[in-house]
Structure formats: structure tokens, C-alpha cells
Symmetry: C2
Subunit: 134 residues, 2 copies
């Protein structure tokens, strides 16, 4: 399938069901999902999803992950209210990563920062480069 996608052209259409089935899930049946703010372009977080979570995301229009720590579906914002409304879902050329463009309500990070990527490394030091929103 992904060999076929590498040679596909703009406008070519394939079935989503086929693609979701043939993603390169890891031994736990998961693929990494990058969430990016569709308005600002900021990369908000990276988490994991199985095939069913991706299907639910497309069907409901809200991003659903698989929580590896809780071993359960993680409907982002279900308890915090900080949900991610799906703008578009993309997969990469070799089918081992997913990009979700989202409208994020409030902070994406559990530390109440907009993005989880707030620790910036130099060759010697790491700096915290943003504050919690509230």
C-alpha cells in the first residue's frame, strides 16, 4: 500500500479503511500521533493511537488517543475540557506516523501549557521556555 502511495499523484483517491488497516502499528498496535494547532502551526503534543482510536477520531471529529499508562482510550479533553477538534488527519509516506491538525481548546499539556514541548535544549543547558496558562 505505501509503495503505491509513494508513486501516487495529487488528486488520486484511495480508501481510508485500507490505509488505516495497513499503517505500520508497533508491537502494541500503536502509531505515534502528532497534534498541531491548525491556526498557529504550533506543535502541541505527541501521543499514540491504535486503529480504532483513529477511526473514532475521523468519525467524531474529536481526537482520540490510546493512553499507554492507563491502557485505555483517551478522548482528549473528556475530563479536562481541553479537547482537540479535528481539522484534518494525515499519514506519512511510509505509514508509520500520523499528523492531526486540530483546533485546541485551552492548553494541550497537563502542565497547563499550550504545548508539551516547553523544554529547550542547548549543547549544555536546558531552559523552560513557557509558563502554564493558568
Amino acid at each position: 500500500m505505501f509503495k503505491q502511495l509513494e508513486t501516487a499523484s495529487k488528486g488520486d483517491k484511495l480508501l481510508t479503511a485500507d490505509i488505516l488497516q495497513q499503517l505500520k502499528y508497533n508491537a502494541d498496535g500503536l502509531v505515534p500521533v502528532i497534534a498541531q494547532d491548525v491556526e498557529s502551526g504550533q506543535v502541541l503534543m505527541m501521543a499514540w493511537a491504535n486503529q480504532q482510536a483513529l477511526e473514532e477520531t475521523l468519525t467524531t471529529g474529536r481526537v482520540c488517543y490510546w493512553s499507554r499508562s492507563r491502557q485505555s482510550y483517551w478522548r482528549k479533553g473528556e475530563s479536562s475540557g481541553h479537547q482537540q477538534q479535528l481539522h484534518s488527519l494525515r499519514v506519512d509516506c511510509d505509514g508509520d506516523a500520523v499528523l492531526a491538525l486540530v483546533k485546541q481548546t485551552g492548553p494541550a499539556c497537563h502542565t497547563n501549557r499550550r504545548s508539551c514541548f516547553y523544554i529547550e535544549l542547548s549543547t549544555t543547558e536546558a531552559v523552560i521556555n513557557s509558563e502554564p496558562l493558568c
Copy 2:
């Protein structure tokens, strides 16, 4: 370490060496690295790196991954010329993902597209939404 980072404030400094050592590498010693174009904000690709590849990235200022298919260091652009000059390197709140903001020379994708995420899924169909650059 990452419990400590969750409660850290803006301007707090920690040692990069400590952070790189305590990232949550998987069973193969790898973490996912997201490459984002620092100028356009476009998410270009996701690949994997081990601790030594991350150290090299910081030291040389060019992104180095670990190729899982070739089982070797993958100095992006070494053969293609499509290198990634590092602007900044970030880690996330729980230390299991890395974000590299880069200046990308040419296409990031081996299909000669700017980004690897050119396959867009709807509930039913998948559409190729960009063409190779050359």
C-alpha cells in the same frame, strides 16, 4: 527528572546531559523526533533517534537520526543534500518525544515532497494533497 520539569518555571536551567540521559527511550533505545520547518511551521517528517544521535545533532547543528531500516546513523541529507540545519531542539513534558525546529534544504521526504505528510484522510477516502517538488 521529568516530574521535576513539570513543576519548573520559565528561566529555570537544567543540564542537557541529564535530560538526554533520562529521556524515555523505547526498548531499542530510541525516541521519536518530529522535524518542523522553523520558517513555515510545516511539520516535515517524524523519525527516530538514540541518545548519541541527539548529542550529535546538538553539537553539529545538523539533524542526525537513527535509521531503523538500515540500523545506522542517518545524517539527514548526507547523500541527498537535503539536510536539516538545527534551529532549536525541544523535549516534551514527559520526556518521550523530541521536536526539532529546522531549516530544511529542499524536500524532507524521499518522494521529493516538502513534507512526508501528504496523504490526507477523510472518513471514507484518502487524498494525495501535494506533488513532488521535482
